[in-house]
């Protein structure tokens, strides 16, 4: 059951709880090594570049305030974006949920009579599970980001939002490419592997006339869309096809072109530890003679408006998907992304996924954190993730209040009993004495308990417990009390 090769479930509706899903990963040393290496490399580069930026905190403050302002005035900025984008020759569509977004995209593809489509990495399309839907409807979707190709050809699932294949190492990539591209003599040199991907995709870029992208930013003032990337596959998809479809969450909008001066300085440094990513593209509707002559934007709500309505949770939508929080997270760094059972892993996933699921699924995720605050510290838009985690935990507990099963939950029973014992001193003393006798049976000579029966085993499976001392503080104090007291009273 807990075999390392278990295929991770990435649909929060079907995924096991976080502690269950984490087990196979924790036993997979290769995967853990890959995750640790990748997050270490990015973290080190990020920290160096952030340290050289004297105005880093001022940039964060500006970005945080700007994103909060956008969310407060979201309807206006979206309408502005729609108006300007339309005036520039684009078509704007609105989708309340994943199903609507998929239907709109399929409709456009049918109009274009497209049986194939090239894609720029977009987590939003993974959120709405677009690829399997297109496949089922006779449209082959080709991912073009190197990491996404590795995942797509290897039948793997994304485990990070910026470097989604960070859990796959070079020899695994070699195996996938050799098998799927029919290249028997491929070596595991990253350069050669990258070249293989370049050749594999070149023809697709030139031949397939329809593309799908995500968006990093939508500019209300101009109706423009901005996409941030490294490889140039984005530029290919944005430039060569006849028809372009951009899928964007409604929260992606910025008021003005100039606001990019804040966001672009933060994004690349936080995401990949670069002063600037190799390519950022911005386009506005349709430009005669340059690039796609038919352009669609699909604005996706999918529960975002519900998140917007909740005061403490709203900040979740400030996110610019830089992944700094997962690279910094001591939990993510151990488990990698698959344990989160969602395309959004790490601290941001722990708050975003259950909210996207209306708190009906993924309730274990708000607990997948030690609340150490590392995520908050690195977040370029200052999302107080620990605060939101606590808020969501409170909601999960509230949900459980009504359920009869909780009366049989050992945790519940334990805390109820503790409640009683701590309320009365004499009861507490009796419990102490009984506990000492009971636990005495399991305490070894060294004063430690190495294994307990029943639910106590949950503790001793992974750590030892100190035995109770022979004498409690109260007993010691009472004895000492026979001597005259020394305090002033």
């Amino acid at each position: 059951m807990n075999h390392p090769a278990t295929h991770p479930v990435m649909d929060p509706r079907l995924a096991p709880t976080f502690p269950k899903a984490a087990l196979p990963v924790l036993r997979n040393t290769q995967l853990r090594k890959n995750v640790e290496h990748a997050t270490d490399v990015i973290q080190t580069k990020r920290n160096r570049l952030v340290a050289e930026k004297a105005d880093w905190q001022e940039l964060r403050t500006a970005a945080s305030a700007l994103r909060a302002h956008v969310l407060e005035n979201l309807a206006t900025y979206l309408e502005q974006f729609e108006e300007r984008c339309t005036a520039a020759g684009g078509t704007v569509h609105w989708a309340s949920d994943a199903a609507e977004a998929r239907a709109i995209i399929l409709d456009i593809l049918r109009q274009e009579q497209a049986s194939e489509v090239i894609k720029i990495k977009t987590m939003t399309s993974a959120e709405i599970q677009l690829n399997p839907f297109l496949e089922a409807n006779g449209v082959s979707a080709f991912e073009t980001d190197l990491a996404e190709i590795i995942l797509q050809l290897g039948g793997e699932e994304p485990s990070h939002i910026v470097v989604p294949a960070l859990h796959v190492n070079r020899s695994q990539v070699r195996e996938i490419f050799a098998r799927r591209m029919g290249l028997k003599n491929l070596s595991d040199d990253p350069k050669e592997l990258t070249n293989a991907a370049r050749t594999y995709l070149r023809q697709k870029f030139l031949a397939i006339p329809t593309a799908i992208s995500g968006a990093n930013f939508l500019i209300a003032e101009t109706g423009s869309v901005a996409v941030v990337e490294s490889e140039g596959n984005g530029r290919m998809c944005l430039t060569l096809p006849r028809t372009m479809i951009t899928l964007a969450g409604i929260e992606k909008v910025l008021p003005r072109f100039q606001d990019l001066e804040v966001m672009l300085q933060l994004l690349a440094r936080s995401a990949t530890g670069e002063r600037m990513n190799p390519y950022t593209s911005l386009w506005t509707g349709v430009t005669a003679g340059d690039g796609p002559q038919s352009f669609h934007v699909v604005l996706l709500d999918n529960e975002r408006s519900s998140i917007l309505a909740k005061a403490k949770q709203r900040q979740t939508l400030k996110c610019i998907r830089c992944a700094a929080c997962m690279n910094a997270c001591p939990v993510y760094r151990q488990t990698g992304g698959h344990a989160y059972g969602s395309v959004y892993p790490g601290p941001i996933g722990a708050i975003l996924t259950p909210q996207l699921m209306q708190m009906k699924f993924a309730q274990s995720l708000p607990y997948a954190s030690s609340l150490c605050g590392a995520c908050y510290e690195v977040c370029p838009v200052k999302i107080n993730i620990p605060d939101v985690l606590l808020e969501l935990r409170a909601q999960v507990v509230n949900q459980e209040r009504g359920r009869a099963a909780r009366y049989f939950d050992p945790m519940y029973v334990g805390l109820r009993v503790a409640n009683l014992l701590f309320a009365k001193a004499w009861l507490f003393h009796v419990a102490q004495r009984l506990g000492r006798i009971g636990l005495g049976l399991y305490t070894r000579k060294d004063g430690w308990i190495h294994s307990l029966p029943g639910i106590g085993a949950k503790w001793t499976q992974t750590r030892d417990l100190r035995g109770l001392p022979d004498e409690s503080f109260h007993e010691w104090w009472a004895k000492r009390g026979s001597q005259p007291g020394k305090e002033g009273k």
Partner: protein, 231 residues
């Protein structure tokens, strides 16, 4: 086909906007208030650079070289020769140029090095662009802090596809176009162009074990000639 898709769209559009409005009762009540709130946003980050003109150019060159871009400096008078030298050293034979390429770059005999083939883009087909090995374009701005070159895709910078498919991209950047910080770029271009490409080094990936590999889909070689004009 188009009409039903559009009208069907009206329903979710209204529903989403209504939901957003209901969720943001704290929003600005009128455009003036919103403008005011926007204007009051904190912007205490560095806008203007501190470097001297000379140090700014030095930083620009240093950053470009960190990205493995090749950089040479020249004067306006020597530019045609500098271009010719780059072409000769490129080991490529077929080149493209945008229609708005300044004539003073073109007239010189230096461009007509024997064996080099030139095509000016007057609406070339993608396949023709794909056949070419190199491209020479102007640029709109250089940002020293991050070693970024900005294309606005004007007639001298070329269509987007022109600087994308050929493997070798030579950019002519004038010293007067170089600013120090990203905010200085935005201050200079208040009226944005509809198309912008910010280029910071040749295309790259670190998707396999975080090993940086230069050149995935965009040009694998980025060369820059920095022209010391009078600013």
């Amino acid at each position: 086909m188009k009409a039903p898709l559009q009208s069907r769209q009206q329903i979710p559009r209204q529903r989403i906007l209504e939901r957003i409005r209901a969720a943001t009762l704290d929003c600005a009540q009128d455009p003036a208030m919103r403008e005011e709130a926007y204007a009051a946003l904190p912007r205490a980050y560095t806008r203007h650079g501190q470097l001297s003109a000379e140090a700014r150019l030095k930083l620009m060159i240093e950053r470009l070289r960190e990205y493995d871009a090749e950089v040479v400096e020249t004067t306006p008078e020597a530019l045609p020769d500098a271009i010719a030298a780059q072409l000769a050293a490129s080991d490529k034979h077929s080149f493209l140029a945008p229609p708005g390429t300044p004539s003073e770059w073109m007239v010189t005999a230096a461009w007509k090095i024997s064996g080099l083939e030139w095509t000016i883009d007057h609406g070339l087909a993608t396949a023709e662009i794909e056949q070419s090995e190199g491209v020479v374009t102007a640029a709109s701005c250089g940002i020293a802090d991050s070693g970024t070159i900005v294309l606005h895709h004007s007639a001298s910078e070329g269509r987007r596809v022109l600087s994308l498919l050929p493997d070798w991209h030579l950019i002519i950047l004038r010293a007067s176009q170089v600013v120090e910080t990203l905010p200085e770029y935005f201050a200079r271009f208040q009226q944005p162009s509809g198309l912008v490409t910010w280029i910071s080094g040749p295309s790259a990936t670190a998707d396999i074990e975080m090993t940086r590999i230069k050149g995935v889909h965009g040009p694998r070689f980025l060369n820059v000639i920095l022209v010391r004009d009078k600013s």
